[in-house]
């Protein structure tokens, strides 16, 4: 019978907030754009190809998986975002089969084996990245110097943290900080970075190394989307302003990590406690990308504010532990997926306090 003229009846509330799952996914993607564009610019057009391949394969696998379950979920944007993040986590010169494999693992195994969007308990993009990282380690080390650095041939294009880890292996005590060690071994810095650094020194009387400036701007080798800390922060602020992410996870993550670095990182260079270079570490590696865009992935982070704080602090501590003491140069992706394992437990024990139950102790 004709349905057109009938009224709609549904449960209260009769109005809904305008945010929806897909709008959130697309907004996050938009917030990631500036950092990605920067990455493509500094590393060349091949990075765009890497990102495109990641997205295309992620969306393609999502389509296949959803179709086999007789659902259609491509339009919710989650697969696009996963692909985008996988692309951002790839080194610029990565062989193209690697992002495809990462997408396949992320979408088919991490996400759809559990039932698709919302059911996965581990961040698909990060799990995909870790999967390919351990599988094809050399392919995942295909770094490239950004175009903003003029350097002679043969200069290392390893990432800042990777070089640091290698140098520390045969550390002979000639440097007293991370920056000092990089400088001693003539790790390349951009001309702009050096100028800004000296301007800070002259005008503001602030000692900010050229490396730190480069890390903030994005004049360093690294994964395509993670190099420009400033642009990532801008994206993060956009998401915060739009109320898509809340402050708890990024702030506790970065703060706890920075505090631990400040307290203990100096020990590696024979210095005392509280002498670590927090700014350098916070800006380096994928920390900004991780803290603002990956740790805050809604599906795999706790639902309560208390839980989010625990989660953020845990991720900060693990990142510190892995980065400073572990054999891997970077710790962000591992730290976040380890915390993902704990999320169901955090959600179980970090429940909100129910109204009106304060008086009746023990009944909860």
């Amino acid at each position: 019978m004709s349905e057109q003229n009938l009224f709609l009846v549904e449960s209260s509330p009769q109005i809904r907030h305008r945010d929806s799952t897909s709008s959130i996914m697309w907004q996050v993607s938009i917030a990631l754009m500036p950092a990605g564009i920067w990455g493509i610019w500094v590393f060349g057009i091949r990075s765009l190809l890497v990102i495109a391949v990641s997205i295309a394969s992620a969306v393609g696998f999502e389509y296949l998986a959803a179709r086999s379950m007789k659902r259609s979920t491509v339009s919710d944007g989650s697969a696009f975002l996963t692909g985008l993040l996988i692309g951002y986590n790839m080194p610029p010169l990565v062989p193209l089969f690697i992002p495809v494999a990462a997408s396949a693992f992320a979408i088919l195994v991490v996400k759809w084996a559990f039932g698709g969007l919302g059911a996965n308990w581990m961040n698909p993009a990060l799990a995909g990245r870790v999967f390919v990282f351990f599988s094809w380690t050399s392919g995942m080390n295909a770094w490239k110097l950004p175009r903003t650095i003029q350097a002679a041939d043969g200069v290392s294009s390893a990432t800042v943290l990777g070089s640091l880890k290698t140098l520390l292996m045969d550390f002979s005590g000639e440097a007293s900080s991370a920056v000092g060690m990089l400088r001693y071994h003539e790790y390349p810095a951009s001309a702009i970075g050096q100028q800004i650094s000296s301007w800070f020194d002259r005008v503001m009387q602030m000692r900010i190394s050229a490396y730190t400036v480069d890390l903030a701007v994005g004049n360093v080798p690294g994964s395509i989307g993670e190099v420009s800390a400033v642009l990532l922060i801008i994206g993060g602020i956009y998401l915060l302003a739009k109320n898509i992410i809340t402050w708890e996870i990024p702030v506790t993550y970065i703060l706890s990590f920075a505090l631990l670095i400040w307290a203990f990182d100096g020990l590696r260079f024979g210095q005392g406690l509280f002498s670590g270079d927090a700014a350098f570490h916070v800006l380096s590696g994928g920390l900004m990308l991780g803290a603002l865009f990956m740790a805050t992935d809604m599906v795999t982070s706790p639902v309560t504010r208390k839980g989010m704080i625990v989660y953020g602090i845990g991720a900060g501590m693990l990142t510190f532990l892995i980065r400073v003491y572990g054999s891997l140069p970077e710790g962000v992706s591992m730290a976040i997926i380890i915390m993902n394992i704990f999320v169901p437990m955090i959600n179980r024990y970090m429940q909100p306090k129910v109204y009106g139950t304060a008086a009746r102790r023990g009944s909860a």
């Binding site: 929806s20 639902v303 909100p352």
Partner: protein
């Protein structure tokens, strides 16, 4: 100005949409030809019909007698002939017996003001029995019988009377207009209630988006030197719920499963206060009320005084009909109100608004699986975990849902409103409660 008061946890802020009808003075809705007066106006036992088909009734006659403790009398606002007693669906979705009355045109209840002195000489007991006789229920929406609330149980002491002028639902202006146009009567009603329950202090809570009400109330209180406090509250839904209002004003929490009186508070709506005033001063039963017709598909949003039992379609006609075909017609506010399909559904004692919403307002994005964003958890004013509860109910685990305080959910709608996956969480909670009841029986 002092920092605005509000409750602690949860809450949302939907678009207010009050301006559609804010400035419209209360007008009287013309009488309908047929009245459909349901015998149930709230959950609990429906009233026992006192009339049968063919009976003649006069305006103000009691046609339904309260049956059971939580029940209120039902009166007819117009005279006429009872055509039939049949079952009708109420906006809330369940069916109730109702009297269909062919109304005599122009027949209206009339009474005289007995004056302040007559009221002053009554003792609280008599006042409560008059309230009961007038069939007054809470006018905020839940329509809980007022006399039950005003009878303070033994061993309890009412310290505070809170007059609820919050009206936190979007679109609605009925209470707002009452506070502006009938300021003195509302205040007198509040003073009567205070006398009935023996409260030490009376506080009127009004959200700050109703500056005219706030001003009118404050002025009247100071000019009449009444022992009342008017408090301005931050705009936040569901502040009009008694538990949140108590939390906002008194910083106390009603214990889980308990009543406000357990912590010495009684909350009463401004509409109820006015009904109490009219019942005590004029002996007028509760048989008409002010409601807001609004919504983007309503051609002439306004606030009207409508007789209980008037079909919705009649009220809408009075307001100029629909400007465009509505997608949804809502009885009450958009957050807790009910969408209906049949425009002959009658206006009830608790009906605070009629909204005609277009497709655009309904905001139907497609449903996705829960992405655990946690917004519902942060929005829940009761501190529940709606997504967990919903999943438990969806998987048939009602007992665990109950252990997680499912029964404390009062279906305010914050969780569903904010849900990005567009999951009907409130419906899930109602479903869970239904299944729990089924299991018990």
């Amino acid at each position: 100005m002092a920092r605005l008061l509000t409750f602690r946890r949860g809450g949302v802020h939907p678009p207010e949409k009050k301006s559609l009808s804010r400035g419209e003075p209360i007008s009287r809705c013309p009488d309908p030809e047929t009245l459909i007066i349901p015998f149930a106006h709230h959950l609990g036992a429906p009233a026992k019909p006192l009339v049968s088909p063919g009976d003649e009734v006069k305006p103000g006659d009691k046609i339904g007698e309260s049956a059971g403790f939580i029940s209120a009398h039902v009166h007819t606002p117009m005279g006429g002939k009872v055509k039939e007693i049949r079952s009708v669906y109420l906006p809330a979705g369940f069916a109730s017996p109702a009297a269909v009355i062919e109304a005599d045109p122009g027949s209206s209840w009339s009474g005289t003001d007995m004056g302040e002195d007559a009221c002053a000489s009554m003792d609280p007991k008599e006042m409560i029995s008059r309230v009961q006789e007038a069939g007054i229920v809470g006018m905020g929406g839940a329509a809980f019988p007022a006399h039950v609330k005003f009878m303070i149980p033994k061993g309890k002491q009412a310290e505070y009377l809170i007059i609820n002028g919050v009206e936190c639902e979007p679109y609605l202006n009925a209470d707002n207009r009452l506070m502006i146009e009938r300021t003195d009567d509302v205040l007198s009603g509040a003073m009567y209630i205070q006398k009935m329950i023996g409260a030490r202090e009376v506080i009127i809570g009004i959200e700050s988006n109703k500056p005219e009400s706030l001003q009118a109330m404050t002025q009247a209180v100071s000019s009449r030197r009444l022992p009342l406090t008017v408090r301005s509250l931050k705009v936040r839904y569901p502040q009009g719920d008694e538990k949140q209002l108590i939390e906002a004003l008194l910083k106390r929490e009603v214990p889980s499963g308990g009543l406000p009186i357990d912590i010495g508070a009684v909350v009463s709506n401004v509409g109820t206060a006015l009904a109490v005033y009219e019942a005590l001063r004029m002996g007028k039963p509760l048989m008409e009320r002010v409601l807001t017709i609004s919504g983007e598909a309503a051609s002439d949003p306004k606030n009207v005084l409508v007789k209980v039992g008037t079909p919705i379609s009649h009220v809408i006609e009075h307001a100029g009909g629909f400007s465009s075909p509505p997608d949804k017609v809502v009885i009450g506010g958009p957050m807790m109100g009910f969408s209906i399909y049949d425009l002959s559904t009658p206006v009830m004692k608790g009906t605070s608004g009629i909204l005609a919403l277009t497709k655009h307002q309904v905001n139907q994005a497609s449903r996705t699986p829960c992405i655990s964003c946690g917004r519902c958890v942060q929005a829940c004013p009761m501190g529940l975990n709606p997504t967990k509860l919903y999943k438990l109910i969806d998987h048939g685990n009602y007992d665990e849902a109950k252990q997680r305080f499912l029964l404390d959910c009062k279906e305010c709608g914050c969780c569903s409103y904010i849900c990005v996956a567009k999951i009907p969480l409130v419906q899930g909670m109602r479903w869970g409660k239904l299944m729990l009841r089924k299991k018990q029986s």
